[in-house]
Symmetry: C2
């Protein structure tokens, strides 16, 4: 069923252009917000922000989740760029990618 698009008759008289924001922009935003769309990931990010620099697998100790699960969440956070991991000896130090954080905050703030 194809709607005619003329029948609009807006309920509110504002008629600004319905300029659809870039699809790419929406996907960008969605990817970043999705990174935070799980309590465990929020807690991880919060944890990393609390420490000035990086940290290792203490995250696992602080979370009621299996090590493999935490690792998966960290992977997601890395993929979205919010978090970086540096190998230091046998351990891995994670830290927030401030640039990505800034980008996220900017995107949200400018909503």
């Amino acid at each position: 069923m194809v709607r005619t698009k003329a029948q609009a008759q807006k309920c509110c008289t504002t008629s600004e252009k319905l300029s659809l924001p870039d699809v790419a922009w929406a996907e960008d935003m969605a990817k970043l917000t999705w990174a935070l769309a799980h309590p465990a990931r929020v807690r991880i990010v919060r944890l990393l922000l609390n420490r000035t620099s990086c940290m290792c697998g203490e995250i696992v100790d602080e979370m009621p989740l299996a090590q493999s699960t935490v690792s998966q969440h960290l992977k997601i956070l890395k993929e979205t760029g919010l978090v970086q991991g540096e190998i230091s000896g046998p351990r891995v130090c994670y830290c927030i990618n401030q640039d990505a954080m800034a980008k996220l905050k900017k995107l949200i703030a400018e909503l």
Copy 2:
């Protein structure tokens, strides 16, 4: 396998308290960000923000999705509180819940 928690030996000498943020807070944040964790929902919110007040099913026309799918996304946005819908005659006018928006922005900004 229980990790001993004493073996820490932090890679970075910062040792601020690992005060775990409220679980409730994390869930709050996750719920709000999750609402935006899909390109379609981001676009809908953007659309609603562009118009000063509310709007109806023109959303469907602007999206490459079936009416029922859009309706589902709107339902999600309503459930998270980001969007409100008022019935006006046979149509429904949606508008951004500015309070929820403000809360989201605040949460992100204070990250």
